[in-house]
């Protein structure tokens, strides 16, 4: 299995992403975006990964330059990849890229959502995530309602839709079971938009979302920073968690082109 981990100038969460992918058995080459755009050969990979960082300095808008550049050169290839039900994962800046590229919440020529500035500015902190009822095969190893610990580190992670369309957009996302992770309180109860449980003010506490087909996953929290027990904040209490690694194990399971499924 081959997972293409891409990097643009300013990408900086690639080494931990490669480590997590290798741990679950992927061959995970790290390739500069210029080489990806030159080769124009996405089909030889089983998985595409957009890791976190500050691609192109996040100038204009976070993830915008990378997202637009990618689509400008590889639009058809990318759509073929999505249509073939192959998984695409974007974490943090990678989520911003997928939204700007028009792959999340669904394939579109113009973005149908935005990753706006956090209501309280940049934060690096550990959050609690509740696994929602979802169609995302990548998250298939999690049980619905399970509470995960995963850290965030971003300034622009507030999932936002056009003003006035919030209700409709939410109904659609929920109807399609596209909301994969929501920020929550430690006991799993809703964050209700309240800081620090919802760290950025995102719509309906959304932390991670997939496309209606379930093979494109975008999330602000960093599972690759929560993959080994010693990365967790409470490990000296004796807990041995690997919440994030289970996402990558799920990714490995769904990487054979299997279709999404409901849990």
């Amino acid at each position: 299995m081959k997972a293409l981990v891409m990097r643009a100038p300013g990408t900086n969460c690639d080494s931990e992403m490669v480590r997590a992918l290798k741990t679950v058995g992927f061959d995970a080459p790290l390739v500069h975006i210029n080489d990806v755009l030159r080769e124009k050969n996405l089909s030889r990979y089983d998985v595409l990964v957009f890791p976190g960082g500050f691609s192109y300095g996040d100038y204009i808008r976070s993830g915008a330059i990378w997202g637009k550049k990618f689509v400008a050169v590889l639009k058809d290839e990318l759509r073929d990849f999505v249509a073939a039900k192959k998984p695409i994962v974007g974490v943090c800046n990678g989520m911003q890229v997928l939204v700007e590229a028009g792959l999340i919440p669904r394939t579109a020529d113009y973005p149908e959502a935005a990753m706006a500035s956090n209501s309280l500015g940049y934060r690096c902190m550990w959050t609690w995530l509740r696994v929602e009822k979802n169609v995302c095969g990548i998250a298939g190893l999690y049980k619905k309602g399970e509470v995960l610990r995963v850290p965030i580190a971003h300034g622009e992670g507030r999932y936002t839709v056009a003003p006035g369309t919030e209700k409709k957009a939410l109904a659609e996302l929920e109807g399609n079971e596209q909301i994969v992770f929501r920020y929550c309180k430690p006991d799993g109860s809703p964050a209700g938009g309240e800081y620090p449980w919802n760290p950025n003010g995102s719509l309906s506490d959304i932390a991670g979302i997939c496309n209606p087909e379930g093979n494109v996953l975008a999330m602000m929290p960093h599972p690759e920073r929560a993959s080994f027990f010693w990365q967790f904040p409470d490990w000296t209490l004796g807990e041995k968690r690997e919440d994030g690694l289970r996402l990558f194990k799920g990714l490995a399971g769904s990487a054979g082109g299997k279709s999404g499924r409901s849990i």
Binding site: E100, Y110, P111, A116, T160, P163, G164
Partner: protein, 73 residues
């Protein structure tokens, strides 16, 4: 031709930077009712205004949260 592109948040979109500036101004004793932030690009190009508007739609804004205006600078 030099164009001036202004990118603003749509009405109803939270503007944390604007709010922070508003709070700070008030804390310094200034009178202020509202602060909104906007980004300005000055673009030197032989393209038409229509093309510049396309630049806005394609890259410089996210139409979900932004409005823009283009003028000749």
């Amino acid at each position: 031709m030099l164009y001036r592109v202004e990118v603003r948040y749509k009405k109803g979109v939270l503007d944390p930077e604007g709010n922070a500036a508003l709070d700070a101004l008030r804390s310094l004793g200034f009178k202020a009712d509202a602060v909104a932030t906007a980004k300005v690009y000055l673009i030197e190009t032989p393209s038409s205004q229509k093309d510049v508007e396309e630049m806005c739609r394609k890259l410089l804004t996210n139409p979900i949260i932004h409005d823009y205006s283009v003028s000749k600078a």
